[in-house]
């Protein structure tokens, strides 16, 4: 296979990002406390989500709000497969279709979860790719609400807002770093692939791209399903590390959080996705610490619940007002390191 110039640059860019990711992961594993490990892990999972989001939003330029739902589907599907029967007898005593009567190894479970999420994403995608702009966004919103209602309502399968516990904790930070690095390569290569290029061209000028023979709907569907699959991976990584999941994290708050990350960094590029994720993840951690009312230089600051939300919203509003294309705009990391041709 021969690579185009853009693809070669893409590989270099992805490699630079990978080095950064591995570096941060290595530092944390070596020197971080348990608490810090957890935060960094959360950042890597969110990075996966944001990367997956970038695949569709960044290339097709359609705002998607359902990503947390797909992450949830992946997480629950894997959790249901992998949790030991003994555990499920306790946590899901009345699950239908013998869901509590089998258990699989983590790899098979993950495969099944990815397949299920991918299939659902494909079915939904068939409809969503035909809509454009705001219409697609609204349907994605509807999907989020529907999936969330299902999680809440079928407590016999998903346990609703209660914790679904007993998932084997097979993932460590190291595995998350590996998955995230793989994802950076996948997402970046998709961006530079024939499909990604066609999709971006169609986002700039849909009619023009169509008249050039680009099947915009098919391109969008490919990106949508890839995005869904990657979200499932993120969900699985989340479940396999924490060991418990509930419906709450897969709803609006998480949607906005990850969306803010992508927007801040710049949704058009993979580098932007990564930058936004880390800025907000660590920035938010700092704000949360302020929220608890710490003592700074001997002054007891008051407890301020909601500060992190205010900051998050402010980040979105300011980004939109001052730099709608995000910090990175159209630049990838290699454009900063090397001169743009």
């Amino acid at each position: 296979m021969t690579l185009s110039r853009a693809q070669k640059r893409g590989l270099i860019g992805a490699a630079i990002l990978a080095v950064l990711l591995i570096g941060i992961g290595f530092l944390t594993v070596s020197f971080g406390s348990r608490y810090q490990l957890r935060i960094v892990y959360g950042a890597y999972v969110n990075l996966m989500v944001v990367l997956a989001l970038q695949v569709f939003m960044g290339n097709a330029r359609i705002t998607n709000l359902s990503h947390s739902a797909f992450m949830g589907i992946g997480a629950y599907a894997a959790a249901i497969c992998v949790t030991p029967v003994a555990m499920k007898k306790i946590s899901l005593p009345s699950a239908p279709w013998g869901l509590n009567a089998f258990e699989l190894d983590p790899v098979t479970s993950a495969m099944i979860a990815i397949a299920i999420t991918g299939a659902i994403a494909f079915l939904v995608g068939l409809f969503i790719v035909r809509l454009s702009g705001i219409g697609a966004t609204i349907v994605s919103l509807a999907i989020l609400v529907i999936v969330h209602s299902l999680f809440l309502y079928r407590t016999d399968i998903f346990k609703g807002n209660q914790a679904f516990f007993g998932i084997p904790q097979v993932f460590s930070l190291t595995s998350a770093v590996i998955v995230a690095v793989a994802m950076v390569f996948i997402v970046r290569m998709f961006r530079e692939s024939r499909w990604g290029v066609a999709l971006r061209a169609s986002a700039d000028d849909e009619v023009g791209a169509m008249s050039m023979g680009v099947d915009v709907h098919r391109m969008r569907l490919i990106a949508w399903v890839l995005s869904g699959v990657l979200l499932a991976v993120a969900g699985i990584a989340y479940a396999y590390f924490l060991g418990t999941i509930s419906a709450r994290p897969f709803y609006f708050n998480h949607v906005f959080l990850t969306l803010a990350m992508l927007i801040l960094g710049g949704m058009r590029t993979v580098t932007g996705a990564l930058l936004g994720t880390f800025l907000i993840s660590f920035g938010l951690e700092w704000v949360r610490w302020l929220e608890t009312g710490p003592a700074v230089w001997g002054i007891d600051l008051p407890e301020v619940l909601g500060l992190s939300g205010v900051m998050l919203g402010t980040v979105i509003v300011l980004t939109m007002a001052l730099r709608p294309a995000g910090i990175m705009g159209d630049r990838e990391i290699e454009d900063l390191v090397f001169r743009k041709e």
């Binding site: 330029r61 359609i62 705002t63 409809f127 035909r130 809509l131 454009s132 702009g133 705001i134 219409g135 966004t137 609204i138 349907v139 919103l141 509807a142 999907i143 609400v145 529907i146 209602s149 299902l150 809440l152 309502y153 849909e206 009619v207 906005f256 969306l259 803010a260 927007i263 301020v304 619940l305 909601g306 500060l307 992190s308 939300g309 205010v310 998050l312 919203g313 402010t314 980040v315 979105i316 509003v317 939109m320 007002a321 001052l322 709608p324």
Partner: protein, 290 residues
């Protein structure tokens, strides 16, 4: 009657969203926070021992309007001529900020507001027992819709707003001040939210930071169903949504009660797939000048 009053509430809110969308292409997700602003202003009045119902209602509506116009000034001016996605995300941001400000400065927990209970008493019409609140709500909505129609048809500002939905630049080329048109749109939008707020508060009797989120989500959907930016569409969508929701409540077995939202949103998704531009919007070829 239930369907009518639900529908009326959604129609009020949907109209408020549609009027802003039609002139500036902004999906104002922060609309729900106007309702919350109204709600909190009632709390403030209760604290000041202002219990005259007319004052309470009036001040709540004025607060919602003021908040709406302020937002236009502060948050939405920079993204005025930006694409809809930028506007949508900005509105999301504003919504998050406001919700958390309520959380921060007031309280994360619901606060009871009892000053509007007087609106609710059962009345009997031709042997049918209905609640006065529902009657008021339906009537108020009808009144507002008629008033809006008159405004849009007979005042220069109303005409300018209708014209702006087609070609804002041309409106400016006639010397009509864009700021005034935007301010008017947000003022009306806030007024509608304020009226909806009165009824929502009278029914719920309490306010919390997320008060406006659910109703606006639904109103948003109503807008889409009716055809985004079409004002009659917003009204139609609102009432349709109210009808669907009540029908779901009646028809779905008790055991599926928690699934109402899922079904409602499912139907909405289907409607959109059937008519991607909404029911009342004429089909438009892609590439047509907007």
């Amino acid at each position: 009657m239930n369907a009518l009053s639900f529908g009326a509430e959604y129609a009020l809110l949907a109209l408020g969203l549609a009027i802003v969308f039609s002139i500036m292409g902004l999906v104002n997700f922060a609309h729900g926070e106007m309702i919350a602003v109204g709600g909190y202003s009632m709390v403030a009045m209760a604290a000041l021992a202002l219990n005259n119902p007319l004052i309470v209602i009036g001040v709540a509506i004025i607060c919602a309007m003021a908040a709406s116009v302020t937002l236009e000034r502060v948050a939405f001016r920079p993204v005025r001529y930006a694409d809809p996605t930028t506007g949508l995300l900005t509105a999301f941001g504003v919504s998050i900020i406001l919700q958390n400000l309520f959380l921060l400065f007031v309280s994360p927990r619901p606060i009871a507001v009892t000053s509007l209970y007087f609106l609710e008493w059962p009345i009997e019409i031709g042997g049918l027992r209905i609640s006065s609140l529902q009657l008021f709500e339906t009537l108020a909505t009808l009144f507002v819709i008629i008033a809006m129609m008159l405004f849009l048809k007979h005042t220069v500002l109303g005409l300018a707003m209708r014209a702006a939905s087609l070609d804002f630049e041309m409106v400016r080329l006639l010397g009509i001040r864009a700021n005034r048109v935007f301010a008017a749109a947000f003022l009306i939008s806030g007024l509608l939210a304020g009226i909806a707020c009165v009824f929502i508060m009278a029914r719920r009797g309490s306010v919390d930071p997320h008060l406006g989120f659910d109703p606006v989500l639904k109103a948003f959907v109503a807008c889409v169903v009716g055809g985004f930016g079409s004002l009659p569409g917003a009204v139609l969508g609102g009432f349709l949504l109210g009808a669907i929701e009540v029908a779901m409540l009646v028809m779905l077995p008790q055991s599926l009660g928690g699934m109402t939202d899922a079904f409602v949103f499912g139907i909405i998704a289907l409607v959109l797939i059937w008519r991607p531009d909404g029911i009342l919007t004429p089909r438009r070829e892609k590439g047509d000048k907007e």
